[in-house]
Symmetry: C2
Subunit: 382 residues, 2 copies
DNA sequence: TCGCATTCTGCACACGTGTGCACGATTGTA
DNA sequence: TACAATCGTGCACACGTGTGCAGAATGCGA
């Protein structure tokens, strides 16, 4: 009756049998039940007798059995796996977002495939193909320019996709994004309230949508304060520190340098800071500086950087939560916008007296208080 | 003969059939061959007629077929997948290493599961179990304290493992590590050559092996220069900026503050920098500062930080290469040690005249030259 | 004691791909 | 023309797990 006790015919030698991983059938043999019952017992099915189930679980535990997710995936056509494609893991912004994604994923017993594309289209394609081969249940794309490339491939895959701070918003996908416009407008407004009227914007020529939204916020703040827009105060870098240096140098060597600069991101701001210092000027005494992102290093540069904080970790979790809903078949909010938060540190102050105009609405006393504290304060959002 | 053309019995309706992913059998039906032939054709087996193969490949291409890696894994019992467990992706050091691992992995058509454990033992266990379930072909553990936890689980898994800058070197595993001792000794020696004789060490009390190796290097440099060791000049932080602030403050408030400080890592050094500034002192005029790691931000703090560069990206690639060898069944070098490289920036200089002794061997001219340039120079070499 | 409901278990097949082996078709040689 | 060698193809099974369905075992009421 239990002739399964014999060595199965496909195993040539006992040694070979010992080499093989312990499978559900081995447990079944030990427990003297069928593999079906083992499967059900381990998945806590109510169909199996509690005593039998307990016995099976114990045997499985003792023999160190772990069910193969590979085989299960094949049987259920679900892998409990997602793919995350990023531009570069080395980018601190991305790292923080991935951390949030992974936290949420592990809590729901999902595993994440991580791949960085380095903005290389060929590699992007390879990654997406690989994700398709591995039958991931969903995909999150972070801070990438999702172009024509994805379109065709992703169309075919019919897999839920969530974009995070993507540059090219596309119709078919859900997304989580920072409120670029509002956050930028508020940040520049604060500079204006401090008394600045000669404010520059250093953008990112590879920033696409994000860049134009932040630029629009800058324009809106100027408009609300009836400050005439000066095209020569808008320069574009490459999104990194080097680009910030170049752009800032250009501004400083212009006819009338700004008293404050709003930057596309922190890395650009840090480059700008270096350029300002190289010109023998001081931040914030001569020029105020505002960044975007609130990278970990923002508070450790000298002076600590005033910047718009993105809730990076939270945004990662949010993206994963949306993806989980989509993978479960229920529908989720299409486009989630997250509020930024202006963090006032020591790189901003009222302009110097000689250049300051009488529009300043920030009393000296309060200004001093702000600058003394390096702790963060919310200015832009809930 | 080709009755496969009919709808298979398990498909109830044509609509359901349309919903299913295209499989190898679909291609077989279209090409009027068996699925075996399709499998062989797509894997470029020499067994199949070139013309037939070409036809099959074309049909597969047209219908957008992609073979399921899940099914293949089950059949071949290889997943072409590795697991990477890190302490925290947000750590810039880790991020760079992971980037290197992933570069090498993608080049060899491997995918990587990334998981961060946040130094939480429970989560570590969950991660390793998850990797086992998914039948990863290998595992890389980065900068973790591999303790008893892993031992038992990993023992059972019989999967190749490579440790990278791990704290507890264990016997059964291969590893890639920075030459902590040599790099530290050389860095401190350079400080001594500049004229410093009162040099402190700020360690990391969670650094375990790495910390004691770097500490040993510090002691060795002092010994070689016949400088008496002063226990009160050794303090330990927590490996982060906060710990650096505390430790440095302690040193500054001691009876005889050091003229130079060698820090366990860059983050500690940046905290120390902040503390020094808070005490109204200047770097490097009053105190020289040396870090370890060469994080991206190291060159953007003020002053740019002299530090020991770890070839992070390269170390990641190296670890993956070792793992690939192990997974292929061949054996690889057990313990690879990588040389660090001292990068001289502007946080180091000869001590002030009043405290400087006549042992200084760095002429003023050369010192000036060094400080003017922020470009990196190798001092510790390969 | 019989019939029926309930509870559990096992059979058999599915998931999609790889591969050893047998066999048919074709070609070459005696 | 007969036979052997070579080449290409398909059959059948394996990989490890999930699950619909049939049926065995048990309990319960009449």
């Amino acid at each position: 009756m239990f002739n399964d006790d014999q060595v199965p015919k496909n195993q040539t030698t006992p040694a070979a049998a010992a080499k093989r991983r312990v499978s559900i059938k081995d447990i079944a043999r030990l427990a003297r039940v069928s593999h079906s019952t083992v499967s059900r017992a381990l998945r806590e099915s109510p169909l199996v007798n509690p005593e039998t189930a307990e016995k099976i679980r114990q045997i499985a535990e003792e023999s160190g059995f772990r069910a193969s997710a590979v085989a299960r995936s094949l049987a259920t056509s679900r892998t409990s796996t997602i793919g995350v494609v990023v531009t570069s893991i080395s980018d601190p912004f991305v790292a923080e977002v991935v951390s949030g994604i992974e936290d949420e994923a592990i809590a729901q017993n999902y595993s994440v495939f991580l791949a960085n594309c380095n903005a290389d289209p060929g590699r992007e394609l390879k990654i997406v193909n690989s994700f398709e081969d591995r039958r991931v249940d969903g995909i999150i794309v972070t801070a990438s320019r999702v172009g024509a490339l994805y379109g065709s491939v992703l169309e075919r895959m019919k897999i839920p996709i969530v974009l995070l701070n993507n540059q090219h918003p596309s119709q078919f996908a859900h997304s989580v994004m920072i409120e670029n416009f509002e956050a930028s407008r508020d940040a520049v407004s604060v500079l204006i309230k401090m008394g600045h009227r000669h404010i520059a914007y250093i953008g990112d020529r590879f920033g696409y949508g994000s860049d134009s939204e932040r630029y629009s916020g800058y324009r809106a703040a100027l408009g609300e304060a009836d400050i005439a827009f000066q095209p020569e105060l808008v320069v574009h870098g490459d999104g990194g520190a080097e680009g910030g240096i170049e752009a800032m140098t250009h501004l400083l060597e212009g006819p009338e340098p700004p008293t404050a600069v709003f930057c596309y991101n922190d890395r650009t701001a840090i480059g700008a800071l270096k350029a300002i210092r190289a010109h023998g000027l001081k931040v914030p005494d001569d020029i105020s500086l505002v960044g975007f992102d609130d990278l970990p290093l923002a508070q450790y540069v000298e002076p600590p950087l005033t910047t718009v904080r993105q809730p990076k970790h939270e945004m990662g979790r949010l993206a994963m939560q949306v993806l989980l809903k989509l993978m479960a078949g229920s529908d989720a909010e299409q486009n989630i916008r997250v509020a930024g938060e202006l963090v006032l540190r020591e790189s901003t102050a009222a302009p110097k007296e000689k250049t300051a105009c009488n529009y300043s609405s920030v009393p000296k006393k309060e200004r001093k208080k702000r600058m003394a504290s390096s702790s963060s304060r919310s200015a832009a959002g809930n």
